[in-house]
């Protein structure tokens, strides 16, 4: 038995929902599901066929008399094959970020806004026990490490939840991951288990893939403790008006307590302010078609919609979190597929525009003071990572996926 204990610090609130649509404790199923998603993304990037476990095409597939599984299912299990490891997550000093049900953050111009629930903050211990003699915990730890460095885990990551850091981080090597992967995909092992590796390639191109993802980190400094009170959306939540246009004192006090508690926990929900600008404000020029037509099809595809054909935002924006002293940081990352894009949308041009704007060099200046208030400054794009792209700030045009993954691991 190989057992490892990983300590996670929850930097922004984490959300793993329950039957009451609340998040009262960290549920390992939510974390495992999220880690599977990150594993799928990495393995698809490595050109393996990975099934969609929520579709009818999921593993296993019957080939002659044998069952065939994709590499992700061989790691995380599927009908007829057990997961390679056992994962148990236990909260340490876990508490809700605030008391109360949800808070409505409604940036300027919005009628409904974003409803944010009380996620959990604190620390968590993740115990990974390998159950298979050929299994290695790096198969789980590497995707977790990439998620911790560049994305988030759990649910509602598109709203800023789930940024974590690994406290007892070990040096990870991509070669070790590949060796472990090859070990569990070895012909001899599969033969012994009477199974085969799934090799179909259909529908693999339209699912999340590391080669089609981008990751960015932005930092800014603040010069006053109550800077967060001026963030677009939070400002309005601190001055809530009733139908007559008068300030609702009771709601004002409640919202203040919630947001103050959120800030005291070390993060601030800025995703609504930035998303609002990107989707409805001047940020639209970054993604709209060349003839400046606002295309709602593109808008819903890129930022998500709950109407008709439901879709989630392709862009995730984390809460801002304290880095050190007066330095704050937030992440933007996402998967924008190269295929099946709505007509008129140009992925490369959008990402180029977004990067330049975050860098302060684009044709559109991000109105930071409108979005995040007057007490912030020195905002800068710290890193931009994208596979085989000149935009990548550390390994530009890196077309070797191993090297690209290693650069992601190095943070």
């Amino acid at each position: 038995m190989n057992e490892s204990l990983l300590l996670l610090k929850l930097i922004t609130p984490i959300w793993t929902g329950d039957i009451d649509l609340k998040s009262d404790f960290i549920r390992s199923t939510g974390i495992i599901g999220s880690l599977r998603l990150w594993t799928e993304v990495i393995l698809r990037g490595m050109d393996y066929y990975i099934c969609d476990p929520t579709s009818d095409n999921r593993c296993p597939e019957k080939i002659n008399n044998d069952l065939a599984y994709c590499p992700a299912c061989l790691i995380f299990g599927a009908t007829g094959i057990r997961r390679l490891f056992r994962m148990e997550i236990n909260g340490i000093d876990i508490k809700k970020v605030f008391e109360g049900e949800v808070i409505n953050i409604r940036p300027s111009g919005r009628n409904r806004g974003w409803y944010l629930g009380n996620g959990l903050i604190g620390n968590a211990a993740l115990r990974v026990t390998t159950l298979d003699r050929e299994g290695d915990d790096i198969l789980l730890i590497l995707p977790l490490s990439i998620a911790a460095k560049w994305g988030a885990i759990g649910a509602k990551t598109q709203h800023g939840y789930g940024v974590v850091s690994l406290v007892n981080e070990q040096q990870l090597n991509i070669e070790t991951f590949i060796n472990s992967l090859e070990k569990i995909l070895g012909e001899e092992r599969l033969k012994r288990l009477n199974i085969e590796k799934k090799r179909r390639s259909t529908d693999n191109n339209t699912l999340p893939n590391l080669r089609e993802m981008f990751f960015a980190k932005v930092q800014f400094s603040v010069n006053e403790a109550n800077w967060w009170e001026e963030i677009d959306g939070i400002k309005q939540a601190l001055e809530p008006k009733n139908k007559k246009g008068e300030i609702d004192q009771k709601l004002k006090e409640k919202n203040y307590q919630i947001l103050k508690a959120w800030y005291n926990s070390g993060s601030v929900p800025i995703a609504p302010a930035i998303k609002n600008w990107l989707r409805y404000g001047d940020g639209r020029t970054l993604w709209q078609t060349q003839n400046n037509i606002i295309n709602h099809h593109i808008e819903n595809w890129l930022f998500g919609t709950a109407r008709d054909k439901k879709s989630v935002s392709k862009i995730n924006i984390s809460c801002a979190y304290l880095k050190n002293d007066n330095q704050w940081e937030f992440r933007i990352w996402g998967w924008i597929p190269s295929q099946e894009n709505p007509s008129g949308f140009n992925k490369q041009s959008f990402l180029e525009n977004l990067k330049n704007s975050l860098n302060g060099k684009g044709s559109i200046n991000i109105p930071w003071t409108n979005l995040l208030g007057n007490h912030i400054g020195e905002h800068k794009l710290l890193d931009w990572h994208e596979y085989n792209s000149p935009k990548d700030t550390k390994t530009p045009n890196e077309s070797n996926l191993k090297k690209f993954l290693q650069s992601l691991l190095e943070g």
């Binding site: 057992e3 056992r86 236990n90």
Partner: protein, 363 residues
Amino acid sequence: MSYDFFVDFRIEKKEDVDELTSCSGKYTEVKEPMARILLLNTAFATNEELMVYAKVGERNTPAGLKAIIHSNGNYNDSMVCKLSMLDFLKINYSIDISNLPKGSWLLEFQLTLKHPFISRDDIPFYIIENPMRKDKVFGIPVTSAMAWKGNLRWTMMKVHLEPEVNNPEDFANVRYQHTLLFGTEKGMEEMAKGWTKYLDEICPRAKAIYRNKVMERFRSHEIPSLTGMLYFYPTFWDRIDMEVINPHDRKTKTGKNPIYYEVVPRGAKGIFKLLYIPFYYINERDIKSKVLDDLANVATALKKMMLNYGFSAKKSSGYGVIEENWDKTASNLLIINEIQKNIKFINFEELEIAIKDLQEENK
């Protein structure tokens, strides 16, 4: 009016589910939660929408099974009475081992779940796909004796057998020991399969040694059908709850077909009981050391099963482990004749120390 309970009280519309949930209207007399849950099954004869309503109700207004089991806690309330009935009927009682052969021992302690426990019931018809396994008469969630046995045998294999794969002699000895404790392996047929096939394959050189050892011990030309020296008892849990897993679509990242299931929630309590009767050692000289060796090996595996590996369905997702400490007064290690001890312990560490001391005393 029909004289069939399920026909007379069948669900036809949402209002029926509401009345059934709140035990009002035509369901006023149907007080027993299990009977109300079974009546929810009649929603299968209606439409998809009503079936979903009978499972969980609506987004902000729980109804049906979710309300009875989870939101209103009706089921847990009724379980308090049922558990006291179990005590009254002496079904869930402490075992008297005073007349058993020398060297027999009884190990019992209180379990408090750290993570929920799941064990799927085999009831053919239920309003959700994953009902919790319950006692047939009282409807109390239960970990069956078979489940304990299967889980402990698997853990013993992980803890004591697998590390010996490179030492065929030792591997065969441990495998033989496990056969005495748990009985014949599943799959020990003319053409080995299942458990036996796995053990034969991970250490092929031990295969013949093990078989010879068993056949020699029982003076047989083939592996006899054996019963084990360990006897397991069911654990009755004092609470039930409901959970959901909602796999997210890879493209839209929205929940797809939520899967509801019943669980015994964390914090629930039960009693674990294990009895050992060393009938294979009765006339042997070194019975004391063999009994204590078995006890030590079982205790080590129990610790791993209870705290690390889990004993539940979905245990690879962290389900089915217990808190490390328990009420000392509710624990009991009772060994009879010659060794004669009654030991109380608060956790596995104390139990292991006590066993080690006993081994020293009886060397």
